[in-house]
Amino acid sequence: MQLVTDTIAWLLDPANWGGNQGIVTRLLEHAVFSGISIAIAMAIAVPAGIWIGHTGRFAALGTNVANLGRALPSLAIIGLVLPITAAIDPQLGFKVYPTLVAMVVLAVPPILVNCQAGIAGVDRDLVEAARAMGMTERQIVRGIELPLAMAPILAGLRSASVQVIATATLGAFFGGGGLGRFLVEGIAQRDDGMTFGGVVLVAALALTVEGAFIVLQRVIRSPGLARMEGARAAAGAA
């Protein structure tokens, strides 16, 4: 297995880890870039999703955004943004911005829709009970709806993160940094060890983030809800 030994050799070579084009730098680029995109997307989608879910206004908008988001391939978004940002800023506009825009555009729909559906899915009787007891709308959102909608909201963040990491990988083919660079250079130089090493790193990053979210979802869940779900699962198995 030439491929396996090449890959292991590449991954174990300390020369590939350091430097401003090494694995550590690329990993940081990938992570920071993805983090910034998710943060921007959250800043847009979380308040919007909460507002739509809580008030029930423009509910159709959320669903349509989600459907559109699915029909928009990440590469097509990068492609469409490229000419625009390149015209605005020839220096970076060809490298960083298109991918960043695509990452944000793709991260908004899953966050928005899950936030909206999660909040709207909270039992309306609970909300009315809270209102009848004299909670303000803000207290209802923060004290009742958000905690109860935490599972779907996290699920939305999780799929957005996976999406964003994938898109960042693609960005390397358009002059961006990140772990995708190893795929670009490995393919161009026909260096299978580097290509496959890049694959391993990208996959590991995506799966680690996915795994972290699964752990987070378990940890953050309120004990009252965990028991409720346990009871439901038990009832389902019976």
């Binding site: 039992d123 009787d125 609970l126 009315e128 009970a129 809270a130 209102r131 009848a132 007891m133 004299g134 909670m135 303000t136 207290q139 009742i144 905690p147 109860l148 309120s222 004990p223 009252g224 809800l225 028991r227 409720m228 009871a231």
Partner: protein
């Protein structure tokens, strides 16, 4: 403990946009006054506006016109949030917050009002005990671990947490089975004897209305008040064809639920103790139109019956010859329950005892039927 306050509806109307009169949930010119400390049941078929009327009190729904007063304050004046924190609210689905413990749930309004942690805790535990749930067992649990009846009790405790003068209850016992419902109803009545809140209670069940209400407001589809009065007035004199049909053809029987054993003049029981002189006992039994002798112990507690034929052949009175088949009533037993217990046991008379178990007298089927006939003659 805060005092209860009256609740007054003055020409309250609620119409929904795009719809005229007579639409589901609408309320038309509703005027009634619930005196402080009384239970008023709003009852009627679905869509009659009873829930709408209830929700206008805490402004979950705002009236189109008219005024609602709590005490002398118009609910539309002032802050809606403060208003709601001063009104208890219980719904059929209970609406306990699943992510909070029972104690946190009960302490919701105190927390909103900014009470200290320790005071909230004490209050929550006090209320749990009040509704019959041991705080040590229940306070730290989550709602999902409770049965339907237990959750409903927590719902009542939560509504009472800040000691509101007014309580709104929207079909609070609608989702539990009949046996649990009966028990919860009795507990609420017992609580109400202690607390004397002003309670507005919505139900579609006329039997529940009669049982729970000091006053009953029968609402008709379209949101009209068909009749407002005590349960007895409504059963005795239905104001309209609609009310008569709604309360049902068996309203004479239903009225029996309003009368309790304590309201009857009891028939004295011919009693004797073991060891009494048989001849004297025979003479006493013969003098009574009721051909039985009730054997009682030294504390006057019933042992059982001896019929007069048996009495003729006896040499002495001993406990083992008595047959104990009569149901026992106390002063609070309703005539409806008494009648059904008598019919079930297949006997003519039940024995009324006091708290110590001592015989007070007898209630017979004949007496109950007599009472029913008298009630029917009151009617229209």
């Amino acid at each position: 403990m805060s005092t209860a306050e009256r609740v007054v509806f003055q020409h309250v109307t609620k119409r929904y946009p795009g719809t005229g009169k007579g639409n589901p949930g609408a309320v038309e010119d509703l005027s009634l006054e619930v005196p402080a400390g009384k239970v008023c049941v709003l009852v009627g078929p679905s869509g009659c506006g009873k829930t709408t009327s209830l929700k206008m009190v805490n402004r979950l729904i705002e009236p189109t016109s008219g005024r609602i007063l709590i005490g002398d304050r118009d609910v539309m004046q002032g802050d809606v949030i403060a208003l709601r924190r001063g009104i208890g609210y219980v719904i059929q689905q209970v609406g306990l917050f699943p992510h909070q413990t029972i104690r946190e749930n009960v302490a919701t309004v105190p927390r909103l009002l900014g009470w200290e942690e320790a005071r909230r805790r004490d209050r929550a535990d006090e209320l749990l005990a009040l509704v019959g749930l041991d705080p040590a067992r229940y306070a730290e649990r989550y709602p999902s671990a409770l049965s339907g009846g237990e959750r409903q009790r927590v719902g009542v405790a939560r509504a009472l947490a800040a000691d509101p003068p007014v309580l709104l209850m929207d079909e609070p016992f609608g989702a539990v089975d009949p046996i649990v419902r009966e028990r919860l109803q009795n507990e609420l009545l017992r609580l109400q004897e202690q607390l004397a809140k002003t309670i507005l209670f919505v139900t579609h069940d006329i039997d529940e209305a009669i049982k729970m209400g000091d006053l009953v407001a029968v609402l008709q589809t379209g949101g009209h008040l068909a009749q407002f009065g005590t349960p007895d007035e409504i059963l005795a004199n239905p104001a309209s064809e609609f009310v008569a049909r709604f309360v049902g053809a068996d309203r004479g029987l239903k009225r029996l639920a309003l009368v309790r054993v304590r309201d009857l003049e009891l028939r004295p029981a011919p009693t004797a103790r073991p060891g009494d002189d048989v001849a004297a006992a025979r003479k006493r039994a013969a003098a009574d139109p009721f051909p039985y002798l009730l054997l009682v112990d030294d504390a006057n507690r019933p042992i059982g019956w001896i019929d007069d034929r048996r009495l003729q052949s006896l040499d002495s009175l001993t406990a083992d010859v008595a047959e104990s088949e009569s149901p026992l009533f106390d002063r609070h037993t309703t005539l409806k329950d008494a009648l059904s217990m008598l019919l079930e046991a297949g006997v003519q008379a039940g024995i009324v005892v006091n708290d110590a178990g001592a015989v007070q007298g007898l209630v017979t089927v004949e007496m109950i039927l007599e009472r029913t006939r008298a009630a029917a003659e009151d009617g229209p």
